[in-house]
């Protein structure tokens, strides 16, 4: 039916325009009354077609669609472009419909399609009501859907997932075999493969209760903290050097150890946050709380001669601002350094208000990295405590005894002094009379000061409560307050992505309007609220809930139906199948071959690395290969030089840690194959595995099965066993004919059977099933 009312209105605008609307009116009018969903329908059109000229960067014709107030305000012409309730009086619609392509919006590209125009018109006719982007609206406790699938009713995660799955016409996969499940679980919770005993236990009694015992055991193991700290290191941009040209050594390891301890102790995430951002501002902070502030001292320091210290101090503060937003809020704040956010409701000035929170620490890009605090390794701490205790007890005895022991006391004190601390950079607030003023930087240029600003948070975010101190501590508390809409969602999503290979919001780094929409918004909100309220910001219960779910326990095998309907597994109708991280690839090879050292904490170590990789100007520091066990420590303890990170890890997508990285993009390249085939570390692991195989039995079958099982926790199928045997035989003949044998790391092996088994082990450690968590 033609809407005569709007027909009349459009007559003055010319015949062509009238015709266009007439056609639209005909095609879409029957839905006139259906309420337009701003976020789902209108915002995508605005963001894709309008915002680059009418947003945070440009406001052509003084018209911006970023904020409601701006969109409804008068434009350059003096009139508003949107008249709520009257689409056909709105200049915005007139320009979109204009017949002259020179005048029609958008000026580049094709005109909007009729469906889009219709949505915009209806939206204006319905009052042009604005709605915040979903992630800026605090999550509410969502109702758990009712479902009937057996085994899927106990865990709320499953209810949400199953509902979506059914909506998409998919059905869940059966549970993964016990061994696969044990391996998946162990890799996820500790970053290491399970022990054969764990697998056996679950295989023998595959009930949920046994599985739960395994979950609890893994969550309680010290390796849990190492695995989750490895994730946090990318966010904290942790490195053992300062970055920039000289990239000299910086002793940050105590901060890394603090993170491992915090994860192992299951420190609630709100406290974890407060201590890292503002541990120094807590009342009477203890040593650990000061160590935690190392988080924001992982910014780079420029020691190149001729550089301006203030320029790089500013760069460090900017990095703290951007990192804080990226880690806790999943919002890309960096754009706002130069102009208002192009898509999200954050103003240029607000960036510098936030910057003001961080602009008053005493560090200033000096080569000493001051302020620092002396830190000791855990062993040194113990030694110091013993000595101090001895001295105290002697001194507190009678003065006579004191005199008698004077020489020994002297010796002990000398011993105490010989334990040298490392200076760990920490945060320290400037005193009241030294405080810096903060200005807006025009176009992001630190030398062009605009107006002065005071500390504050963006207006589109929850209010900064008057009860909070107006400093970093208040800011940290604001970030973890219950009404912050982003912190819990972003964190829960990050943890989810670690297990499932992809976040519910795939763009973990961007919860803004240009990021992906969540696939399971209700589930994300329910988990976020439940985590804050019921799980008290603790990660272990959250992880436990996730890994106990039937969703997680599904087999990862991919059916033809699933490949057609949901190749990328957005709707979770199967378990995760994901290549392991750089650290996990290394740790796993060392673990299954029995080489892995379980030594924890302390200064970073230097496992074998090819000669000549480190070549840095004016820097005498050298890669000195660690000895003994230290060659086989977990990846998290590998020395990290920003300008030349450990090459085999970079091949597996580790970032350089020059800045915060929220999500590693996984690649699959030939260079990775070269690492796992030829890097001496992996060859050494193959040699060690070969020896285990050799010792497992007298027949070749037994030996090959042992190798395969140690790595993959299952028996090789006959066909696989045949392939391995074929390789063994070819290799054996090769080594037998070639008297020289296999050489690695300066060691020569002449026994052809061990060499042949090493080649088999080398191939096992390169199998897709080994490199992949499935």
């Amino acid at each position: 039916m033609i809407n005569f009312k709007s027909f009349k209105r459009i007559i003055p605008f010319g015949f062509t325009g009238a015709m266009a609307i007439l056609v639209l009116g005909l095609s879409c009018n029957d839905q006139e009354d259906e309420k337009v969903d701003f976020n789902a329908e209108v915002r995508p059109i605005i963001n894709n077609k309008c915002i680059s000229c009418h947003g945070g960067v440009k406001q052509s014709g003084k018209f911006s669609l970023l904020f409601e107030s701006e969109a409804l305000a008068a434009t350059k012409s003096g009139e508003p472009a949107i008249v709520p309730g009257h689409a056909d009086e709105s200049e915005m619609i007139k320009r979109i419909l204009h017949e002259d392509p020179e005048v029609r919006m958008p000026p580049e590209g094709p005109p909007l399609d009729p469906k889009e125009i219709d949505i915009l018109k209806k939206w204006i006719n319905q009052g042009a009501k604005w709605e915040d982007h979903w992630s800026f609206i605090p999550p509410t406790d969502k109702e758990i859907p009712e479902i009937s699938e057996s085994g899927w009713t106990d865990n709320p995660i499953d209810a949400f997932v199953l509902e979506k799955m059914e909506e998409k016409g998919l059905s869940p996969s059966p549970q993964a075999p016990a061994a696969t499940l044990a391996r998946r679980l162990s890799l996820d919770l500790t970053g290491l493969p399970p022990t054969p005993e764990m697998v056996k236990k679950l295989e023998e009694s595959p009930e949920l209760t046994t599985y739960e015992e395994l979950v609890d055991e893994l969550l309680a193991s010290p390796q849990y903290g190492e695995r989750w700290a490895a994730m946090w290191m990318d966010l904290a941009r942790y490195a053992d050097t300062k970055g920039y040209q000289k990239d000299r050594h910086r002793p940050m390891w105590k901060f890394r150890d603090w993170v491992i301890d915090a994860f192992n102790a299951d420190m609630p995430f709100d406290q974890f946050t407060i201590e890292q951002i503002a541990g120094d501002l807590l009342p009477n902070p203890n040593k650990d709380q000061l160590i935690a502030t190392g988080f924001h001292r992982n910014t780079m320091t420029n020691d190149e001669s001729g550089t301006d210290d203030e320029e790089f101090r500013v760069a460090a503060v900017l990095d703290r601002v951007n990192t804080t937003w990226e880690v806790w809020q999943g919002i890309t704040f960096a754009c706002v350094q130069c102009h208002s956010h192009p898509y999200d409701p954050i103003k240029h000035e607000e960036f510098y208000e936030f910057y003001a929170f961080f602009n008053n620490t005493s560090d200033a890009d000096t080569w000493t990295d001051s302020p620092t605090m002396p830190v000791y390794t855990k062993i040194e701490e113990q030694e110091r405590a013993n000595i101090l205790h001895w001295i105290d007890s002697v001194k507190s005895a009678s003065p006579k005894t004191n005199y008698q022991f004077a020489h020994q006391i002297e010796e002990k004190e000398a011993e105490l002094k010989s334990i040298r601390p490392d200076p760990l950079p920490v945060m320290e607030e400037l005193s009241a009379d030294e405080r810096r003023q903060t200005f807006v930087f025009e176009r992001g240029n630190w030398m062009e000061h605009g107006k002065e600003v005071q500390p504050g948070v963006p207006g589109s975010m929850p209010k900064f409560s008057d009860t909070l101190p107006n400093n970093r501590l208040g800011l940290a508390k604001w970030i973890v307050s219950d009404d912050n809409p982003l912190t819990a969602r972003v964190t829960v999503n990050r943890i989810w992505a670690q297990l499932f290979g992809r976040g519910i919001v795939e763009t973990q780094e961007d919860f803004g309007s240009q990021g992906f929409e969540p696939t399971h918004p209700e589930l994300l909100d329910w988990m976020a609220v439940n985590w804050m309220k019921e799980q008290h910001w603790q990660l272990k219960p959250l992880l436990k809930m996730m890994v106990m779910s039937a969703t997680y326990r599904q087999s990862s095998e991919l059916s033809k139906e699933a490949l057609d309907k949901d190749a990328a597994n957005y709707w979770l109708s199967r378990g995760p199948r994901v290549r392991l991280t750089a650290e996990q690839v290394r740790d796993q090879a060392l673990a299954v071959s029995g080489l892995l050292s379980k030594k924890m904490f302390g200064p970073s170590v230097m496992p074998p690395q090819p000669d000549g990789v480190w070549q840095v100007i004016n820097n005498p520091e050298k890669w000195i290969e660690s000895k003994g066990d230290d060659k086989h420590r977990r990846g998290i303890y590998t020395y990290w030089r920003r300008t030349s990170p450990y090459p085999s890890m970079v091949s597996f997508d580790s970032p350089s840690r020059e800045f915060c990285v929220n999500r590693r993009i996984r690649t699959n390249t030939p260079l990775q194959a070269l690492v796992t085939m030829n890097d001496p570390v992996y060859v050494e692991a193959a040699q060690a595995l070969a020896l285990k195989m050799k010792a497992a039995g007298s027949t070749l079958d037994e030996q090959l099965k042992e190798g395969y099982e140690l790595a993959l926790f299952k028996q090789p199928k006959p066909q696989v066993l045949n392939s391995l045997k074929e390789l063994y035989q070819t290799a054996y003949l090769h080594f037998e004919a070639n008297g020289e044998g296999l050489e690695n790391l300066g060691k020569q092996e002449t026994d052809p059977s061990i060499n042949a088994l090493t080649m088999v082990a080398n191939s096992i450690l390169n199998l897709d099933g080994f490199i992949t968590k499935d």
């Binding site: 995508p44 894709n48 920039y244 040209q245 190149e304 001669s305 001729g306 550089t307 760069a315 890309t332 754009c335 898509y343 992809r502 763009t507 961007d510 803004g512 240009q514 992906f516 929409e517 991919l558 033809k560 190749a567 990328a568 957005y570 199948r577 994901v578 290549r579 090819p610 840095v616 100007i617 920003r642 300008t643 970079v650 020059e658 993009i665 996984r666 690649t667 699959n668 390249t669 030939p670 070269l674 690492v675 696989v720 392939s723 391995l724 070819t730 290799a731 090769h734 080594f735 070639n738 020289e740 296999l742 690695n744 060499n755 080649m759 191939s763 199998l767 897709d768 099933g769 499935d774």
Partner: protein, 496 residues
């Protein structure tokens, strides 16, 4: 390019990745590579992640450009440390007259220098200049071989930059931003165009002069682009590519057998679990095996005839700029897209013998003169210069004043960092030969005509490769990024 090829290009353009990208507004840029696991099937269209999917199993696959390219590949000779334009190409007789006089205050007001303090003295050109070739280009006597090739070269004499410290200036030159974290130009080019040879890395880096440039490996890093696009450093000692050679005692046949078995078992795995990523892994192992042959073959220059070695001044097995130039030609022949050479040691402050115009600088000139000239001639005689763009230059220029670190006269002669004027040259790949573009004032302090900013140079390089620098974008952190940020104008006048 004939008409037929042109038609194919036009058609292909409609379906390029960038075209696809342009329609995408997904968080990761909608870039969909088979080998970007997990995110491999990113969406297109709205922000609904499950929309249209793309399948690109090979991230280095050669892709069509935006328009018909003049250059198919790039050899970029970066002189790290910044050579003095005043001792090589930008001849200033007026500066000679001012030699030893105090620098007028007008040149110093409001300027920031890395080391100059107080009032420095002017420093005349330290070497003799002559004009060469049909084009009459001025070149100093430090480059006797190169001066015979000036008619193939286009000089950009009024280059300028924003940064006067090495690391940020190198980053700006190579990544378009003085801050860390942006993709290098080679990464952008291979992301946009892939590479013509799948058995060699698409973006190869060589370093000579004893050390990595100041900015470290970030200048060939992939920034926010997938790591598959970062430069692969080929080394002249040890493995040319890290972990390329098999452990001692493993023969070629045995490695082949191992990979066959790995791939056999992986194929069985694929039959069982159906994950397409397994097929990608199989092809990566095959490629690794091919690289194990093709990289050492390409890197072994001992099979070159004697006259070639004499021409370049190469010695097989040695680590040198000369060897790297010859390797660059060999890679260019094999269709590698972007070949980046760094030669370290041009920082001629005068603060010590190594860093002075009469010693270190002189040595560097001798090291590069013959090989870079040979490279131009060799490419030309093989018909490769037409579609290979060769670029030579540092990250900034040097001051017409003599450096006086700490306000004192130094024992050796040298010049401070200078961002207002420097010279680079380009050859082949659609650049006008025998041209001198841009002018500096009479003392070479400031560009006065046809100034070219670093971003303009980058826009021009992409243009010659057939890409619009404003359209080669990647979405990261919610916005489209490009090599030239929001800047850059193509220098049309140097294009043939």
């Amino acid at each position: 390019m004939n008409l037929f090829e042109e038609v194919i290009y036009k058609n292909a353009e409609l379906n390029t990745r960038r075209h696809f990208l342009k329609k995408c507004l997904s968080g990761m840029g909608g870039l969909a590579l088979g080998s970007l696991l997990g995110s491999s099937l990113t969406s297109c269209g709205s922000n609904d992640p499950t929309g249209q999917m793309a399948d690109l199993n090979n991230p280095m696959k050669a892709l069509p450009s935006h328009f018909i390219p003049k250059a198919k590949r790039v050899i970029y000779l970066h002189m790290a440390g910044a050579p003095s334009q005043l001792e090589l190409f930008d001849f200033k007789p007026e500066l000679q007259k001012l030699n030893g006089l105090d620098c007028p205050p007008s040149l110093l007001e409001g300027k920031r220098f890395a080391f100059i303090q107080g009032t420095p003295q002017m420093l005349g050109p330290q070497y003799q200049f002559k004009q060469y070739g049909q084009s009459g280009a001025w070149v100093s006597d430090r480059l006797p071989y190169f001066s015979q090739n000036v008619d193939d070269v286009s000089f950009l004499k009024a280059m300028h930059t924003d940064e006067f410290n090495h690391a940020p200036a190198q980053l700006l030159m190579q990544t378009g931003s003085a801050r860390l974290g942006k993709p290098s130009i080679g990464s952008w080019v291979t992301y946009g165009l892939g590479s013509e040879n799948q058995n060699l890395p698409g973006f190869v880096v060589f370093v000579s002069g004893g050390t990595t440039p100041s900015a470290g490996k970030s200048i060939w890093g992939s920034g926010f682009l997938p790591t598959v696009y970062q430069g692969v450093q080929c080394r002249s000692k040890g493995d040319p590519v890290l972990y390329l050679s098999d452990p001692k005692g493993v023969s070629r046949e045995l490695r082949e057998k191992t990979i066959d078995i790995i791939n056999d078992i992986n194929r069985q795995q694929y039959q069982e679990v159906g994950d397409p990523e397994i097929m990608t892994r199989i092809s990566q192992y095959e490629m690794a095996f091919k690289m194990q042959v093709s990289v050492p073959e390409t890197m072994d220059i001992s099979d070159e005839p004697k006259y070639i070695h004499e021409m370049y001044g190469t010695e097989p097995g040695k680590s040198s700029f000369a060897n790297n130039c010859l390797l660059a030609r060999r890679l260019a022949e094999k269709g590698v897209r972007f070949i980046q050479l760094y030669h370290y040691g041009w920082d001629s402050h005068g603060s010590n013998q190594k860093e002075s115009l009469h010693h270190g600088f002189n040595d560097r000139c001798q090291e590069v003169d013959k090989p870079m000239s040979a490279l131009l001639q060799d490419l030309k005689q093989r018909g490769l210069l037409d579609d290979t763009l060769v670029i030579w230059g540092g990250e900034f220029g040097r001051t017409p004043m003599r450096e006086n670190r700490g306000g004192k006269e130094m024992k050796f002669q040298g010049r401070d960092h200078h961002l207002e004027a420097f010279t680079i040259w380009m050859a082949g790949g659609g650049v006008k030969p025998g041209l001198s573009y841009g002018e500096t004032d009479e003392i070479g302090y400031y560009g006065i005509k046809d100034r070219v900013h670093v971003h303009d140079l980058q826009a021009t390089i992409l243009h010659l490769l057939g890409m619009d620098h404003e359209k080669l974008t990647y979405q990261f952190q919610g916005r489209d990024f490009r090599l030239t940020d929001v800047h850059g104008n193509v220098v049309e006048k140097i294009i043939a």
